[in-house]
């Protein structure tokens, strides 16, 4: 009778341990999956940002042809692009990278505002095509950022929630930073009611 009780107790303990190991593995794998999704989402953001860097020199050259004396605006765009490209060397999702990209977005906004004062520039087909392409890229950056932030939120929830936070601590999962938009673009929610 005593042996039977011992077997039952050992069996119960073994079952609990097995369940615990199973849960730990499953949670760890889920965290890995979520972290990979964050990285993949950042890669999508990065692709669009690089696309934007590629378009800017052409745009600046085109504007120079019509408004060369608007030197400060043009230099601001070039400088912001260089800063953003330099920041791209650091790991994704950092606040510095986001800040640099936001400065570039604002500088581009000023450049397009400038074009309003130059009808010839506005009528230039190359400029119109570049403007459309950049607008398209900005849209894609916006969606990519939304996906990235969504993936970050999911991972952060897992890392900070109990009991998955225990596994996250053991696996050294770090909460990634959000890629926040600047000024009027801040936040993913744009309700249009």
């Amino acid at each position: 009778m005593g042996n039977l009780g011992l077997f039952i107790a050992l069996g119960a303990i073994a079952l609990v341990v097995l369940l615990l190991i199973g849960w730990t593995i499953s949670t760890y794998n889920r965290l890995v999956r979520q972290r990979n999704q964050v990285r993949a989402s950042w890669a999508q953001v990065d692709v669009q940002l690089v696309r934007r860097y590629d378009l800017i020199p052409n745009l600046v050259e085109t504007v120079k042809g019509y408004a060369a004396h608007e030197r400060s605006t043009l230099e601001a765009v070039v400088s912001a692009r260089n800063t953003a490209m330099a920041a791209a060397g650091t790991p994704g999702g950092t606040a510095d990278r986001a800040a640099a990209e936001n400065v570039l977005t604002q500088a581009l906004g000023r450049l397009f505002a400038l074009a309003e004062a130059y009808p010839d520039l506005k009528a230039n087909q190359n400029f119109a095509a570049l403007q459309a392409e950049l607008a398209n890229t900005e849209d894609k950056i916006s969606y990519s950022r939304q996906f990235y932030n969504s993936a970050v939120q999911t991972l952060n929830n897992s890392i900070q929630s109990f009991p998955s936070s225990l596994v996250a601590g053991l696996g050294k999962f770090e909460p990634p930073a959000y890629f926040e938009a600047a000024g009027g673009e801040r936040g993913p929610v744009q309700v249009r009611f």
């Binding site: 939304q146 996906f147 993936a151 744009q190 309700v191 009611f193």
Partner: protein, 620 residues
């Protein structure tokens, strides 16, 4: 071998072989399962509905329609608003200012449906369901074919059985029909003393038409080369969206944030919450949305099934009540009679038990009958008139006029919301009054106790009846017709009988004059299929002398091709030829063939004249 076994083996073997070929073709043409491309957030140019078709192995699922609604919201043709935490409270708001010129046929159909249901430009998202099963099926089918038509136009999808495959199946059906006919001939020779041509012809055409119909049936869609490439890309998008766990929990109103991604997510089956909220299929009849009075609210409807009084005519009820009273009186007054009559035949204790029971049953029947009579009379005297919105109309009881007749509706359930509360019981509507549809505003004269409707007047028709009316352009309609109907049309074109009766083309006098003998026309034997024919017989010995055959549609064209040889006869119909004892005439889509038989064979020189007469009648 037993001849019966031979006949059965011939028929079963031939039909079985054909069925095996069909099954093999079905297996070979099954849609591919493309390997997903790399996970990506890059959307393609295809609409969510077409993406859904491709991602679901070339099958249109309900996801396609739901995704289309979300896509319309993302493109600002409608707005989805969620006023509270529960996504089920989402409402759809029309945006009449949106430009609808770029919408596809099915997108416009979904938008039309929202517009038809909206009251004051608003409709709850859960009120988009249908209330009529047939209407739901028809609407869904139309949307389905429009989606398929678009996918085919882009070269992403094709009919599962192509024209060649269907042509081969129809040809094989002809062979099988011939084998079956041969078995019928064998049976005739064995069993029937005189040859019965009717059985053979019936066996041939029945088999041919049945198998051709199966061959021509719409078998679904399958992949194309381009379709597989695009499907792989969309499966990559699906993997990308699936990787974002948050996506599964987004409500429909999130379309304002996620734009078209939510629509594509729904199309690809990764939006659990949004897809569970949206339902454009058949709705529940027990919890129905009403907009009576201008605001939306839900009404619970009860449908009685076992009430003896429900839907009964007053005469029936009074008759039953009087019968109950009569039976009760008999039991009460004459309950002791059996003892007096049968006292010698049965023991006294039996009557001691029976008499009190009979008295109790009699009193119960009297009370029941009296109550029914009283309520029926009160019901008769207190008819009411109510006005409200029809929530649900459905057949409840059917009856056959005779054993062979199809069951016909006798009573309908009619749920009406008169604005008195959020619960109601359906009325029993005599089927001859069932000319209203859900959404109509009606005035009813009713009897409350039996719930029977006496008269019904439709005050205002609902727009919902227009759901299935097409708003797509003619070109799209043609495309849709082609999508599902091309092969079937080809088959029916082959089988279509000519409209002209052969008996009207030549008279017995004309044939007799041409052949130089007295003839009479045999009555036309009705034959299924694309042929019609009459024969002319000699009056004297009843021998065939001329066979007049007509063939229409595709079969007419084949008949013309195989008979347009010999000496051309210009000026008769659209073309004519004489070839020995046979002459052929083409007029429109109809081909006429005259064949001289027996004693008629010596008079081929008169065939052109007979054709001229026939052509004259056809042009008239």
């Amino acid at each position: 071998m037993d001849p019966r076994v031979l006949e059965i083996a011939l028929v079963v073997g031939a039909v079985g072989l054909w069925a095996a070929c069909y099954a093999a073709l079905f297996l070979v043409t099954r849609p591919a399962s493309p390997r997903p491309g790399p996970a990506t957030q890059e959307l393609g140019t295809e609409s969510p509905a077409v993406a859904s078709l491709l991602a679901n192995r070339w099958a249109v699922t309900e996801d396609a329609v739901e995704a289309t609604l979300l896509d319309l919201a993302a493109r600002r043709h409608v707005e989805l608003r969620q006023p509270a935490a529960d996504p089920m409270q989402t409402t759809v708001h029309l945006r009449p200012e949106a430009d609808q010129s770029g919408l596809t046929a099915y997108e416009r159909r979904v938008l039309d449906r929202v517009g038809a249901l909206a009251v004051g430009g608003v409709v709850p998202v859960t009120a988009l369901t249908f209330r009529d099963d047939k209407q739901a099926k028809r609407w869904t089918k139309q949307v389905r074919v429009e989606i398929v038509a678009e996918a085919r136009t882009k070269g992403l999808s094709q009919r599962r059985f192509g024209k060649t495959a269907v042509g081969l199946l129809v040809a094989a059906a002809g062979v099988v029909a011939t084998v079956v006919a041969a078995a019928a001939i064998h049976y005739n020779q064995r069993v029937v003393e005189e040859d019965e041509a009717g059985l053979v012809i019936f066996a041939f055409f029945f088999t041919f038409i049945a198998l051709s119909a199966i061959a021509g049936r719409y078998p679904g869609e399958r992949d194309t080369l381009d379709g597989r490439v695009v499907a792989a890309r969309w499966l990559g998008v699906r993997d990308w969206l699936r990787g974002h766990e948050e996506f599964a929990d987004l409500p429909p109103a999130a379309a304002t944030v996620w734009d078209r991604y939510l629509a594509y997510g729904a199309a690809l089956g990764v939006t659990r919450v949004a897809s569970s909220v949206l339902d454009l299929g058949m709705g529940s009849r027990r919890l129905v949305w009403s907009s009576y009075g201008g605001t939306w609210y839900r009404v619970r409807v009860r449908y009685p099934r076992f009430w003896p009084k429900y839907g009964r005519k007053a005469f029936d009820l009074i008759t039953r009540a009087l019968l109950s009273i009569g039976l009760g009186l008999v039991l009460v007054l004459y309950g002791t009679k059996p003892r007096q009559i049968l006292s010698d035949a049965a023991p006294a204790r039996w009557f001691d038990t029976f008499e009190p029971l009979a008295r109790i049953a009699g009193i119960a029947l009297l009370a029941y009958g009296g109550y029914k009579l009283l309520r029926a009379v009160i019901d008769l005297a207190t008819e009411r008139t109510i006005t409200g919105e029809v929530l649900w109309v459905q057949v409840w009881r059917t009856a056959r006029k005779d054993d062979d007749a199809r069951p016909e509706p006798v009573l309908h359930y009619l749920a009406v919301d008169d604005g008195a509360g959020d619960r109601t019981t359906a009325w029993a509507l005599p089927s001859e009054l069932a000319f209203c549809n859900d959404g109509d505003t009606v005035t009813l004269r009713v009897r409350r106790w039996t719930r029977r409707v006496l008269t019904l007047k439709v005050n205002e028709r609902s727009k919902r009846g227009d759901f299935t009316e097409s708003t797509v352009d003619h070109e799209s309609e043609d495309l849709v017709a082609t999508t599902l109907g091309s092969t079937m049309r080809a088959v029916t074109g082959v089988l279509r009988a000519p409209d002209v009766s052969p008996a009207t083309l030549l008279t017995a006098e004309e044939v007799g004059h041409a052949l130089g003998m007295a003839v009479r026309m045999q009555d036309e034997v009705p034959v299924p299929g694309p042929f019609r024919m009459v024969t002319f017989h000699t009056v004297e010995r009843n021998k065939q002398v001329l066979l007049l055959q007509l063939a229409g549609g595709r079969m007419g064209a084949w008949a013309w091709r195989s008979n347009s040889r010999g000496t051309p006869l210009p000026g008769i119909g659209d073309g004519a030829f004489a070839n020995g004892d046979r002459a052929t005439l083409r007029f429109g889509e109809t081909t006429v063939v005259l064949t001289l038989l027996g004693k008629g064979k010596g008079h081929r020189q008169h065939l052109p004249w007979l054709l001229t007469q026939a052509a004259g009648r056809m042009s008239a």
